[in-house]
């Protein structure tokens, strides 16, 4: 357990973009918000636009943590072989399983949680500034908070990050880590080629595109059936319903978890057998 915790710290020392990128994007988004406030203060309390900046910040940070997670996963077990530092790590009494688990938990656990914390902190500061401005103009702060429904919004964000970014996408990150443990070069290409090849073969052989659709559904998060969202991507806390039962009951969810375990087990095995020269 101690080895796992320290191996996690080690990953954060090595890949500082894990936390620097979300913080930097959050700062940029905050600056954007300040400009927005100065530019169109009337929109702050208007019922149609009240949630817009908050959704934008959440979306930007999700995009950031997803990109960081993908870049990290593709390099996680590839970089240590490329610079041969794996020979140093293997000279320590830390098992391959612990090392791979620590690395896998970065995209699957740490980044979604980090994304949540950063998002909520920025949104709180934004809401605080909005409240101050509204109060100064003599408008109702209470009505603003009620419309924003901050607590509900945060809970929903948390659920979305865990269900979709963490659990639904886990097999995708598991696959990337497997490729990073296996590829001699260009892990990105090797990560993309097999899915593309499967889709092409399926198209030629059966003239269907089920694999591509399946992948698309998983990546867009809709296959997770984690929520029922009337009218698209944006999660309005008033109308979005959490359907955790349906999410956990879907076979796709469990198949995804099994695939993740298989990919990671294969990555552990590869790390065990491969010795760089």
């Amino acid at each position: 357990m101690k080895a796992l915790v320290w191996s996690l710290r080690r990953e954060l020392w090595e890949s500082r973009s894990i936390y620097l990128a979300p913080v930097a994007v959050a700062c940029a988004a905050f600056v954007g918000f300040l400009i927005y406030v100065v530019h169109s203060p009337a929109k702050l309390a208007a019922s149609g636009t009240i949630a817009q900046p908050y959704e934008a910040v959440a979306g930007l940070l999700m995009l950031t943590t997803t990109i960081v997670a993908a870049v990290y996963s593709l390099d996680a077990l590839y970089g240590e072989r490329r610079d041969r530092s794996i020979l140093f790590w293997k000279s320590l009494p830390v098992s391959d399983r612990t090392a791979v688990l620590a690395k896998a938990s970065i995209p699957i656990v740490i980044l979604p949680l980090l994304g949540f914390v950063v998002t909520v902190i920025v949104q709180l500061i934004m809401a605080g500034i909005s409240s101050a401005i509204l109060a100064a103009r003599g408008l109702s702060v209470a009505a603003f908070w009620e419309q924003l429904s901050f607590g509900h919004r945060s809970l929903l964000l948390f659920y979305h990050l865990i269900a979709v970014h963490g659990l639904s996408w886990a097999p995708v990150f598991g696959w990337m880590m497997l490729v990073s443990a296996w590829a001699r070069r260009a892990p990105l290409v090797w990560a993309l080629l097999p899915p593309i090849a499967i889709a092409i073969v399926e198209r030629i052989a059966f003239n269907t595109s089920r694999f591509g659709h399946m992948l698309g559904r998983r990546l867009s998060g809709s296959e997770s059936v984690a929520t029922s969202v009337p009218g698209g991507m944006m999660m309005d806390p008033m109308t979005t319903h959490v359907t955790a039962g349906r999410f956990l009951g879907a076979p796709g969810f469990w198949i995804g978890l099994v695939l993740t375990a298989l990919f990671l087990a294969a990555a552990v095995r590869l790390r065990r057998y491969q010795v760089p020269n």
Binding site: W6, W13, P93
Partner: protein, 283 residues
């Protein structure tokens, strides 16, 4: 219990046998040099001993199966595969923190003590250190681990003369205590041979020669033969003969020292010369 014991140790890569049936017994408390030409199987043998690759045959390191019990074995074994493997992004303080946290036998104060003798700063990153400093850092870490077996594979490769000498001096003076076992491979035998207690020659995946250094000194003699005595010397059936500038140098096994002294200048052969005689002569 021997430190390392193997019987019929084999490792094949496709059709080629990198290790072709190695029988080996290394007792604890020895400093063993594993010498061999490129591609002889040195690194493969060390990788098997360190549990980095699967193998066929029997192999026990400190009483354990290195492949099956690797994580456990790494508590008692330290190794430097190459000094260039310390991750370049890590800070000196971070690597000490990490090793200290995951290694139950790591004595941080000891490592700090070694580092205090160098100019390495705690907040430097490895990439900012010179090659010699990286070596010093890696050595400081390894020597602060209370290991029973230390394995070094070409530890001084790419280092300049000064650091190579310093490496072995530090190793012997500050680390070796008579109980630990050190197994080392190197191309530069001459800077190592005065610290070894045992020597193993490996060629084409087999151990072709093994001896203690004492036996080497008592069994093998090298003679710079006077030109007029060459025929007489050759009649004594030397193991190996070579020419230097105008002189013949003959290497004898188990010959009488008095008898040889009549033929020319007698001395103990270097490991490098013995290696050429044993491995080169067999080819």
């Amino acid at each position: 219990m021997p430190c390392i014991e193997s019987r019929g140790l084999r490792k094949t890569f496709g059709a080629t046998a990198a290790l072709d049936g190695i029988d080996l017994r290394i007792e604890e408390g020895r400093i063993v040099g594993l010498i061999g030409p490129n591609g002889a199987g040195k690194t493969t043998a060390l990788n098997a001993i360190l549990g980095l690759i699967p193998y066929e045959g029997q192999l026990a390191v400190l009483g354990r199966d290195p492949w099956a019990q690797r994580d456990d074995l790494m508590r008692d074994v330290a190794f430097i595969a190459d000094v260039a493997v310390l991750p370049r992004w890590i800070r000196v303080s971070q690597v000490l923190d990490y090793v200290g946290a995951v290694h139950p036998r790591f004595d941080r104060s000891k490592a700090e003590g070694f580092l205090a003798k160098t100019t390495i700063r705690r907040n430097s990153k490895v990439r900012e250190l010179s090659k010699g400093m990286v070596t010093q850092l890696h050595l400081a870490i390894v020597m602060a681990v209370d290991a029973r077996l230390l394995v070094l594979d070409e530890p001084t490769l790419g280092l300049d003369l000064l650091y190579r000498k310093q490496f072995y001096d530090t190793l012997i003076n500050d680390y070796f205590d008579g109980n630990r076992t050190v197994l080392v491979t190197t191309h530069q035998v001459e800077e190592l041979e005065h610290v070894l207690t045992d020597v193993l020659f490996i060629d084409r995946g087999r151990i072709v020669f093994e001896s203690t250094m004492e036996d080497v000194e008592s069994r093998y003699l090298e003679v710079l033969v006077h030109p007029e005595r060459v025929d007489a010397a050759r009649a004594l059936n030397p193991l190996y003969a070579r020419q230097t500038i105008g002189r013949s140098i003959l290497l004898f096994e188990g010959a009488d020292r008095e008898q040889l002294a009549a033929l020319g200048d007698v001395r103990t052969p270097s490991i490098a010369d013995l290696f050429v005689a044993v491995v080169g002569g067999a080819r």
